[in-house]
């Protein structure tokens, strides 16, 4: 082991130490206000809500593809064996770690590839009481959908993630639906005999 290995080893160990006491952002107000400013600016830049939702989802996708590395390093989880396990980990470990909330998980169909995360309170929309007039189809937390989708794709799980219910639109809870899609068959290469 050379001298250059020591800094990366230290960083790895410090991440491991952090996982023993998960750190939730102490000043989450700054995150909430930043996110609010982002959505407000997107609303000013784009007239249609579909565009705002689409770009929030895209941004979330970019965050998710990178965040999953950090998540896997901090949580040191073993391989999951079912979609149900994956969804439970997203709810109980990832959401808890980054947002400080734990949604409840329900399975929506018998083939066990459609799940819902039910949140009583979405932390990102804490200060938003209702959507502004004329923006009723805005999905305020679309970023979260994009993050989940991006993270799952980096671990080779294709999924469709959307908001099924939204407290900001008058529903009683916020519900995020995750539908795991069937993977296309991978080509198997055979050595030429």
């Amino acid at each position: 082991m050379g001298v250059s290995d020591t800094p990366t080893l230290d960083k790895h160990l410090s991440r491991q130490q952090e996982t023993r006491t998960p750190v939730v952002a102490k000043n989450k107000d700054l995150l909430i206000l930043t996110y609010g400013a982002l959505v407000a600016q997107l609303c000013k830049d784009y007239e249609k809500e579909e565009d705002v939702n689409k770009y929030l989802d895209k941004m979330g996708y970019g965050i998710g593809t990178r965040l999953v590395e950090d998540f896997l390093a901090r949580s040191s989880l073993r391989r999951c064996h079912s979609y149900s396990e994956v969804t439970h980990i997203i709810a109980e470990v990832a959401f808890k770690m980054y947002l400080g909330v734990t949604p409840s998980v329900t399975c929506k169909n018998s083939s066990r590839n459609e799940f819902s995360l039910i949140l009583d309170k979405t932390p990102l929309s804490e200060f938003v009481e209702m959507l502004p007039a004329g923006r009723s189809s805005l999905c305020y937390c679309s970023l979260l959908c994009g993050i989940i989708r991006g993270a799952l794709e980096m671990v080779h799980l294709a999924a469709d993630v959307t908001f099924l219910q939204d407290k900001l639109k008058g529903d009683s809870v916020t519900e995020i639906g995750i539908t795991f899609l069937k993977q296309p068959e991978e080509k198997k290469y055979r050595w030429k005999q």
Binding site: L33, G36, E126, E129
Partner: protein
């Protein structure tokens, strides 16, 4: 019971007005407007000695025949003024100050809403409910 609660922003226009009964709102507007000078006077008289970390609570501004007027100024020069029925027994300063602190906390949550522009006169639901509970509670 508090009959009127008004939030006045830095530029000295009312951001939020709530009065019971609603018909007397105009009268309350004039009472609060005249009390703004008193707020400034009391604050400058109090000076730096009594600065609370949350905001200055000069307390009772002046009593009229029907109402007593209480005021509170935040660090960002937003003023909260409340009119309380004179017929009730005297309120302790602490109760009034704690009422203003609750209002202040609610107000900071309202300002964190990303959609309205600062200075827009809005009627936020949670703030409204908080004010209703405070108005019925102060007795």
């Amino acid at each position: 019971m508090a009959v009127c609660i008004m939030v006045i922003v830095k530029e000295n226009y009312p951001f939020y007005v709530r009065s019971i009964p609603v018909e007397n709102e105009l009268k309350f507007h004039s009472v609060v407007h005249t009390s703004l000078d008193l707020v400034d006077e009391k604050i400058s008289a109090m000076g730096k000695a009594l600065v609370d970390q949350r905001g200055l609570c000069p307390g009772l501004l002046y009593p009229t025949e029907d109402y007593k007027v209480y005021g509170y100024v935040t660090n960002s020069k937003v003023k909260f003024v409340t009119l309380v029925d004179s017929s009730n027994t005297a309120h302790r300063d602490n109760e009034i100050c704690s009422m203003f602190w609750k209002l202040h906390n609610s107000y900071t949550d309202v300002t964190c809403n990303p959609f309205p522009n600062p200075g827009d006169r809005i009627r936020p639901r949670v703030f409204d409910n908080m004010v209703t509970s405070l108005m019925t509670q102060v007795c």
